[in-house]
């Protein structure tokens, strides 16, 4: 490489060199003077300040917002919890101090040491680090008396989350836990020992619930003893939240569901507000706010009944005959004459396969209304072939199926509305004609969540508004879409539901003092064989899912009630009684029910093993 060769004996400009010398001299003189000023002239002053008056900044925890039900009952509150903290810099003998903590609390010393060592990496040496949590109040008295002998240790009051109703609201409220490595990394406002929402509303509403920490300046003497505290910034308490849910309703719906695995949704159609959202089985979310042991966690996650799953929004099921309500809307849109009758022989042949009606003997001639009240499958097989899968897919999606409802809870699932495009992507295969038949009765690949069903039925009642299911009492209704049905079609479906309750398959939930409409559903879990087996003949996990979607009006109040019993067998026989109990809670018990019960039992016995 050719390097430039300049004239020999280059001399930098004199003024430039002088500038550099001058600056260096300036630097020296400036700081000699400054250090002299600080360290010699005022040194003693500063030394005194350093020794006597140490101000330390401490954050003050903000109270987490509480959660109430719509009548002001506490669903999530804060209870004081006493913790022992240690400031490493202030502690002359850490091993002895830890041993003392172990003596006071009864925690094993080795566990204490392990936790201390781990936390030491994350907490700065001058910040309080938690060494023991959840110390009972009686112990605190004893500790407070001796604590002055142990510099660096302090008793602090933190708050612990408490859910008075436990399992009843576990899936909705979720739970909080100590902020972990990930949370700390994601949010610099968090410190070790803070709690954050991990599930449910505690997670979704974390921002509103958390509030903002305050700041104290604490004066500490040379031994680390606290002299006085001054509040610099008061903490900002988190927002209190009122839910639309009603604890009584929730309780009643939960009791109605009893031991079944499943979900109950009670929704106000006009506002979209949920009054009960029950899923069974449940778990006690208070377990998570204390230290959850590995065994307890394993027990929850390995439980074959999946108690952590919120079945109302996170589980998808074939809708079975409940789907027919939507199908009727489509048929009407496609100008199918409701008076037109279809002959049901008990099945339809397509290719080599026979698609059976639940009633093996057949229903005879069925018009549209009768097809709902009797839940005749053949009517749908036949008519669905006329409208085609593309229409079904479009219409179902427009009704809100196949996508999440937008409820304020994490991990909601959207279900599935199958179609040609989906099948090609999923299996690389073209759509088969028989699959249209399956979809027409809510079987095949079709999957919905109970809350989607509640939103759909509500939309029928509220002039077609597809609402976001509301959990917050003070939230304005959020309209996410409009049912693709004119008023006449909606009233046809409502009338059909009404007829199904007054004289059809959902007779069980009728009551004289209210207007009730409903539709039962029994969704096959396994492929329908040559003969339809009755529930008793099947293994539990092969048994049908039972649905009851309904609405009720009394004294100007309207509610949508959707009951889904996992592997419950018949929609009417299993989900029906649950819905009856929910209406009892909503509208009050019916006088003379007991007498009616017996007659109806006899009646339904006569239709034993009927599917719908």
């Amino acid at each position: 490489m050719e390097l430039s060769r300049e004239r020999e004996g280059y001399q930098p400009p004199r003024s430039g060199v002088l500038l550099l010398y001058g600056l260096t001299a300036f630097l020296f003189v400036l700081f000699v003077l400054r250090f002299w000023y600080l360290q010699i002239l005022h040194g003693e002053e500063y030394a005194q300040k350093a020794n006597a008056n140490r101000t330390r900044r401490e954050s003050v925890f903000a109270t987490r917002g509480i959660i109430l039900d719509n009548k002001g009952r506490l669903l999530a509150e804060n209870r004081p919890a006493y913790v022992l903290t240690l400031v490493r810099d202030d502690c002359p003998d850490i091993p002895a101090t830890l041993a003392q903590v172990s003596r006071w609390t009864g925690n094993s010393l080795s566990a204490l040491r392990n936790r201390f060592r781990q936390d030491s990496m994350r907490v700065k040496s001058f910040q309080p680090q938690i060494v023991a949590t959840d110390i009972p109040f009686e112990k605190i008295y004893e500790i407070e008396q001796q604590i002055f002998q142990w510099p660096g240790l302090a008793v602090e009051t933190r708050q612990r989350r408490w859910y008075p109703y436990g399992p009843l609201f576990a899936h909705i409220l979720g739970y909080v836990a100590d902020a972990g490595e990930k949370d700390l990394r994601a949010d610099e406002k968090l410190a070790l020992g803070d709690i954050v929402g991990k599930q449910g509303l505690e997670l979704v509403l974390e921002k509103s619930l958390r509030g903002a920490k305050g700041l104290n300046s604490v004066e500490v003497d040379a031994l680390g003893r606290r002299l006085n505290k001054r509040r610099e910034e008061p903490p900002l308490a988190g927002e209190n939240i009122t839910l639309s849910l009603d604890a009584d309703m929730q309780q009643a719906a939960s009791e109605a569901l009893g031991e079944h695995a499943g979900a109950v949704v009670v929704m106000e159609p006009d506002t979209g507000k949920l009054r009960a959202l029950v899923t069974h089985p449940s778990y006690d979310n208070n377990m998570f706010t204390a230290t959850l042991s590995r065994e307890e966690w394993a027990k929850l996650t390995d439980d074959p009944r999946h108690p952590l799953q919120n079945r109302a929004i996170q589980s998808v099921y074939p809708p079975g005959s409940v789907w027919k309500l939507m199908m009727v809307g489509l048929f009407l849109e496609q100008k199918i004459d409701p008076r037109h009758g279809v002959l049901c022989h008990g099945g339809v042949h397509l290719g080599s396969h026979t698609f059976r009606c639940w009633k093996s003997g057949g229903h005879g001639f069925m018009n549209m209304l009768q097809s709902v009240t009797n839940s005749c499958d053949v009517y749908y097989y036949e008519t669905a072939q006329r409208v085609g899968i593309d229409n079904i897919e479009r219409f179902a999606k427009a009704c809100g199926f196949g996508s999440p409802t937008g409820i304020d809870l994490p991990h909601e699932r959207g279900g599935l509305v199958p179609g040609r495009e989906w099948k090609r992507r999923r299996f690389g295969e073209p759509w088969q004609g028989g699959e249209t038949l399956n979809v027409s009765i809510g079987q095949g690949y079709t999957l919905v969540t109970p809350v989607q069903m509640a939103v759909f039925v509500s939309a029928l009642l509220n002039e077609g508004k597809i609402l976001k299911p509301g959990l917050l009492e003070n939230e304005e209704p959020v309209v996410r879409g409009v049912l693709p049905m004119p008023p006449a079609h909606r009233s046809f479906i409502l009338e059909a539901m009404r007829a199904t309750v007054s004289g059809g398959t959902a007779r069980r939930i009728n009551r004289p003092d209210a207007v009730i409409g409903g539709k039962t559903g029994t969704a096959q879990v396994v492929r329908i064989g040559e003969r339809r087996l009755s529930s008793g003949e099947m293994a539990y996990r092969h048994r049908d899912h039972a649905w009851m979607t309904s609405w009720g009006m009394k004294d100007g109040k309207t509610y949508t009630v959707v009951v889904m019993v996992e592997h419950g067998g018949g929609g009417s026989s299993t989900a029906g009684p649950v819905a009856v109990k929910v209406y009892d809670a909503l509208f009050g018990p019916v006088a003379g029910r007991a007498a009616r019960e017996t007659t109806q039992n006899g009646e339904s016995r006569g239709q034993a093993e009927r599917r719908d």
Partner: protein, 371 residues
């Protein structure tokens, strides 16, 4: 290129090397005393002084690389290097990592690169290259030419936002221009115009940056934020008095309330533990260090080498002035580290590279006939 010539060794500037070694050693000892346990990502827990030793070793390696070849090659490289660092700076807003609300890092996987740091080296090289094209004092046209070149990286760094690095880059170029000399009438006009431009600069600052400067002017206003740091670091230094509290004696002091004690406020730890005498010694070492660089600038064989040394002088000078000024409470709080004393990977390596260039220029001051 010259093969290893014995005269290169004999002409090596051993004094400068020794002073730097001493400063680095003081830095390590000081970090050991500050004793911060690293918690940035929650994984690494190696003490800072150990990590700084690793960085120092890496820096030493880079330094040797920058000693071996003739520094005049840098002149050819200055323009491409400048362009590369501009590209890196432009990449930051697109793919950079955000830390504490500012995007300054490029994540290279094994290493986070701070393009602001490479821009400093590139700026020095380019300024030295451009300035050495002019033999006489700068007129208007030459001045604007150089300022225009420097404005690009400044604007990109300012947008990150990184006020400290921007100012450093401006001061660097300014210092080098003054060292080179400008025509008298240009100098006089500038003396009038620049103070008038300052209010404009104020408008371009972010709120928190304005706050810091206001806080500096009146620390009692903000005892909890930046004012707290200033007050606490002054107490720390002042309480060192004449003799200091002794090595590691400062751990019981206020210092532990300083969140940046291992980086920007490292000298507060030192001042507290070693007192006035220690501070004067440290100051003297820094001044000797600067004098060695000035001597190299004086004796360099060509203008490029001389300009380069001047640039490196200003690089260290401004950092020492701003950092110590901030810790001693006579400058606003801007995040500028103290060379060789503050913990920091990129900064340490850059410092050693620049030192390598000075040594390079110094040992080749008699050598040009070799080529």
């Amino acid at each position: 290129m010259a093969a290893v010539d014995r005269r290169l060794i004999t002409h090596a500037n051993w004094t400068l090397l020794a002073i730097t070694g001493l400063l680095f050693f003081i830095g390590i000892a000081n970090l050991y005393s500050a004793g911060g346990v690293r918690f940035e990502d929650g994984i690494s827990i190696a003490p800072f002084y150990q990590k700084q030793l690793v960085w120092g070793a890496a820096g030493l390696g880079c330094m040797i690389v920058f000693i071996i070849f003739d520094y005049r090659h840098l002149r050819t490289l200055s323009v491409p290097f400048f362009l590369v660092s501009l590209v890196l700076l432009a990449l930051v807003p697109l793919v950079g990592k955000t830390v504490y609300g500012a995007k300054r890092w490029l994540d290279l996987g094994f290493f986070s690169l701070q393009p602001g740091e490479t821009a400093k080296i590139a700026g020095i090289l380019l300024c030295a290259h451009l300035l050495s094209r002019f033999k006489d004092s700068l007129g208007w046209r030459a001045l604007f030419f150089i300022l225009a070149a420097a404005a690009l990286p400044c604007a990109l760094i300012f947008a990150q936002p990184d006020l400290g690095t921007t100012l450093l880059l401006i001061f660097l170029c300014g210092g080098m221009i003054l060292f080179h000399g400008v025509k008298k009438y240009v100098f006089r006009t500038c003396c009038v115009v620049f103070p008038l431009l300052l209010p404009l600069g104020w408008l371009g600052l972010k709120d928190y940056q304005k706050e810091r400067i206001l806080t500096f002017l009146e620390p009692s206003k903000d005892l909890q934020g930046a004012g707290y740091h200033i007050t606490q670091s002054q107490i720390a230094i002042g309480s060192g008095e004449l003799w200091g509290k002794g090595f590691q004696g400062g751990t019981q002091s206020m210092l532990r309330f300083l969140p940046e004690k291992h980086t920007d406020f490292a000298v507060a730890v030192f001042g507290e533990e070693w007192g006035f005498l220690g501070c004067i010694t440290l100051l003297a070492l820094f001044c000797f260090f600067l004098l060695c660089i000035i001597n190299t600038a004086r004796n360099a064989k060509d203008q490029f080498g001389s300009m380069l040394c001047a640039g490196i002088f200003f690089y260290f000078f401004w950092q020492i002035l701003i950092n110590m000024g901030m810790v001693a409470g006579i400058m606003p709080v801007v995040g500028v580290p103290l060379p060789f004393l503050s913990y920091g990977g990129t900064a340490t390596i850059v410092n050693f590279i620049l030192l390598g260039i000075v040594l390079n220029i110094s040992m080749r001051r008699f050598m040009f006939k070799m080529n």
